[in-house]
Symmetry: C2
DNA sequence: ACATAATCTGGACTCGTGTCCAGTACCAGT
DNA sequence: ACTGGTACTGGACACGAGTCCAGATTATGT
């Protein structure tokens, strides 16, 4: 008889990928971006992404628990790939804060379809996506407090975080244009951090 | 031969419902709420909602273009049903603003599953949902400016709107508890409207 | 009471998601 | 060159979304 495969029991951990595995994973993420760019979000299917990456669809689900997980991973990779601007004492706190937040809010915003995809995907309620959300949230806070120093009003920090999330949402839903994000965040930072108040 | 039904060619307009129609519609919306409460969002299906409402699934799609549209409608109804608090000159602007925004942010937040459902549904990219979003956005702005008067910094208004959307998001994803929303919005309003600054 | 239109039923159909798994190809190390 | 695990294939499967439509049911006017 036969009893070959025992195979992937490791859906959960997903640590320590072999060279071959991380290559497959990279190809999937890359293919997802291309697929969104090529066909838009509404017609994005895991099967097409897998095909584009040259793997079987079952394999894709070895790496990603859901379509949303895949798209969220795209976002995470882009975001963390953005270099954190060095602390520049010559710039005002509001300027530094804006710079830090723009990395978050504009990571994918110049690719409209991708922005929409990410916005929806990141809200999925499966545990893998939740982890990515937490991870991103922590990184945003780290960069923001890093840009502002230690003696900042925590309420101001939270307001900035909330407003940035709101802005990202508006971009994702198409209610706010890419180019408007930077000035808006700048004005918000000015207001919240107490500069140019009257 | 036969050539009875010409039937619903009116998927788009959806105005001027007959008594019978609006009754069916009400039952669907009501059933959706019950279904979420009973089985959670992940297992919410249009078919089950239809069954609970006592209509065929095809009929449900006569009234709603998508599952997200249905859930968004639940939100819209609840939100607009909340009475707008009368303008009270004895309360501070921040207090009035907070009251106005709470109606928006807390409309469904005490039903955890429903909040999650609404958060995701309202981001769907189909035109019906987009209309609801716009409608809600306008109503929020109206109530907010109504609460604050005409001579308020528009940047402050926008910051409040963005932060409130961010808060709603956090509630929907479970990163923020129902009870924390009110104090957080209050602190944000205080900061943004320039009260208790140091 | 009867035609006629509006509304709903019930079920078939397409397509994508996510799961599962027997079999195959690709690696080590020995 | 062989062995044993590791990664992938390819396709079947259950199930929900959304569409469609012939026919039944229900209202409405006359």
């Amino acid at each position: 008889m036969s009893s070959t495969s025992v195979q992937q029991l490791d859906l959960a951990p997903r640590r320590h990928l072999s060279a071959r595995q991380s290559q497959t994973l990279d190809r999937l993420v890359q293919a997802a971006v291309e697929e969104v760019a090529a066909t838009g979000y509404s017609s994005l299917t895991v099967r097409n992404v897998a095909k584009r990456a040259g793997v079987a669809s079952g394999t894709a689900y070895t790496y990603f628990a859901s379509k949303e997980h895949l798209v969220s991973e795209v976002y995470l990779r882009r975001f963390t790939a953005q270099a954190e601007p060095a602390f520049d004492p010559n710039r005002s706190p509001a300027e530094r804060a804006t710079d830090a937040l723009l990395a978050f809010a504009l990571t994918v915003s110049d690719e409209t379809e991708l922005a929409a995809a990410v916005t929806v995907a990141m809200l999925a309620d499966n545990p893998e996506v939740r982890d990515l959300r937490v991870q991103i949230g922590l990184e945003v806070r780290r960069r923001l407090t890093n840009a502002l120093g230690d003696d900042v009003d925590p309420i101001a920090v939270r307001t900035l975080e909330l407003a940035t999330a709101g802005a990202l949402l508006q971009v994702g839903t198409g209610h706010l244009a890419y180019g408007d994000v930077a000035p808006i965040l700048r004005e918000t930072a000015d207001l919240v951090l107490g500069e140019t108040r009257r």
